[in-house]
Symmetry: C2
Subunit: 377 residues, 2 copies
């Protein structure tokens, strides 16, 4: 499968943003984070792992994006479709791109309001003191009215293909878990081995792996692995975020070390049933809360418990949440996870997760759908 | 080697912050990013990969830290030394922890100034609109006076041991590069294979890998790998950020596919010489700029070119920069990289990188020091 996107796709994203900007009277939008910059430019590098340098892209109300970036990124940005690239030698303790950015924003926004993503999940990836300097220079900032988040929530076919590819890579790695996990294997070495399997199956990298193991499940789904060995009767869960060409899958698999306990097997069946109920509810026009309700009614989740799924794409989690209070209306092209959890007693739980895309007629699976009994290792 | 830190170490970090806070008249410091939260609490999870939820830790001017976090993190935070843990069910589209945080900050800061890291490399990891709500509630924020960055710059022995362990893991993986890289191997498969080697040698995960390959070097050091095959005479560079227990190594190795060209071999020797010059200059009392100058004079780098090294620790890059304009004074306990680059013509370059810790008498190596001729694959 081809990497990257046609230039036409980036231009369409910019045009869609600009139509919304005109409605909201924004002269420009200022972007500072990795997915936002990549969404409009195609600039893809793991160098964002380094917090030392800020990166800026400006979407003007008309015309092409302008990149205001550290010179270390110029060669790579020149390979994208962006032609207006302005650089400074970063990090500069006196003026780390602030003057260059001020000049560009003045030229492009000419006194108008500059939108900055400010809603849920967003953050401004630049020093607060430097943002204060932009404001002190007379630039006027406001919320981006959710424009960027709304655009990113609906995926193109090219984006969906990349997510599907990440899902199939992880699916093949999950099929091989028996190579690295068995009774007596330490959980941290299972985590290492599983990351290796994901890479062997074609993941570019593995930004996320969580999981747990225990006789009746696990106490949370975000802890790092310790050296405890897998014991007969344990349920092992692995949940990954593997990436292909900048797009994530995010689903998990549960495995039983030996024949599962009756309670675990029953909980597992309920989780599969809940996932299927979520799948059937996930149609254009339904609310995120409707999909939540379909799953919650099967597993008995209360309204204040955690979410049972979320949007997925350039980030491990993005966009809507499957909770009782999220009334986002599903549209064709949205990619989401279905992630029901069930309490198994003593603070333990089991969680199952699959990835789907919303289509005109209903949902379509992206991760290889689990069915039948819990796989035994 | 044991994971984590003694509680005494976290308490010492808090006390040191509080002494500085008293000097700067800060009633509290509000922390929102992964390394800042982990530095004071020990809270370690890859779940930060998900942007959906904000996390807050408050350091009061006296007393222990307070965690104001999503309930999904409660079980893991309870395993740290923090006892005052306040949670909400996130993500909440109406009030995503803002009321809970406002209440906690009012109680702890009682009208005093609340410091927020605002200088170079920092960012505020929460929605700007929510930060505005805190300000509108009457809370008074200001710069943290660089307190957090200065504290983190000087490592304890326990921290240095973890970085050294990450370095030795990567050193063993570099020794095995011949298993995944040879003439005809595609660069992207080399990247996958090398990440697998890092995991096999004991890395918890591999947040960063960059590199390049070409007959006279590479055009930049941040690009992702493409499918081009390694050719006889190419120089291959791999630069990793592998992590053990939350601490990074960051060094690279260059390899020649077949016997290196005379030009490459000569550039390589100059890079080794520059690194050694940097090593000798890296003593307590010297400035970052002095170390830069020692290396720049060997490789002929100008003042506006990129930096030749940087601080290292809980992040791939943190703290000082080895540039002409960074006058940070080196102290015992600082861990830095020495990263000279040299132009080889036609926009190509070679870059070499090692990791060291500043000691009372001078520098001590952490990465297995390269010497002699460039290794041939």
């Amino acid at each position: 499968m081809r990497r990257g996107f046609d230039v036409g796709e980036f231009k369409a994203r910019v045009k869609a943003a600009q139509r919304a900007m005109a409605r909201h009277e924004l002269a420009a939008i200022l972007l500072t984070t990795e997915p936002e910059v990549r969404y409009f430019t195609g600039f893809q590098t793991r160098f964002w792992e380094s917090p030392s340098r800020p990166w800026f892209v400006i979407i003007p109300q008309s015309g092409d994006p302008i990149a205001v970036i550290p010179s270390i990124g110029e060669a790579l940005m020149r390979r994208t479709w962006v032609s207006d690239i302005r650089t400074w030698s970063a990090p500069d303790p006196i003026d780390d791109g602030v003057s260059l950015l001020t000049e560009a924003l003045r030229e492009i926004a000419s006194g108008g309001k500059i939108g900055v993503p400010s809603g849920m999940e967003s953050h401004l990836r630049m020093p607060l003191a430097d943002f204060g300097r932009l404001q002190a220079a007379g630039l006027v900032f406001g919320d981006d009215a959710g424009i960027i988040a709304q655009l990113r929530a609906v995926k193109t076919e090219a984006e969906i293909e990349k997510i599907a590819k990440a899902c199939s890579i992880a699916g093949r790695a999950f099929d091989r878990v028996g190579e690295v996990a068995r009774q007596g294997a330490k959980l941290d070495s299972v985590f290492r081995g599983f990351q290796g399997l994901l890479l062997e199956e074609g993941a570019d990298w593995v930004p996320y792996l969580a999981g747990g193991a225990g006789p009746t499940g696990y106490s949370d789904v975000i802890s790092p692995a310790g050296p405890q060995p897998l014991a007969m009767g344990d349920v092992l869960m692995l949940d990954t975020g593997a990436v292909w060409d900048g797009y994530f899958c995010d689903f998990d698999r549960n495995f039983s070390i030996g024949v599962p306990a009756r309670r675990s097997a029953a909980s597992w069946s309920q989780l599969l049933e809940a996932t299927l109920a979520g799948f059937e509810a996930a149609k254009p026009g339904a609310e995120a809360a409707d999909v939540w309700r379909a799953m919650a009614s099967v597993v008995g989740t209360g309204e204040t418990a955690g979410r049972l799924g979320h949007g997925l794409g350039m980030q491990l989690t993005e966009g809507l949440s499957l909770t009782a209070r999220d009334h986002t209306v599903l549209e064709a092209g949205m990619v989401i996870t279905l992630e029901p959890g069930i309490e198994t007693g003593d603070g333990m739980m089991l969680v199952h997760e699959e990835n789907i895309v919303i289509r005109e007629g209903g949902a379509q699976i992206l991760s290889p759908w689990a069915s039948g009994a819990m796989p035994v290792l």
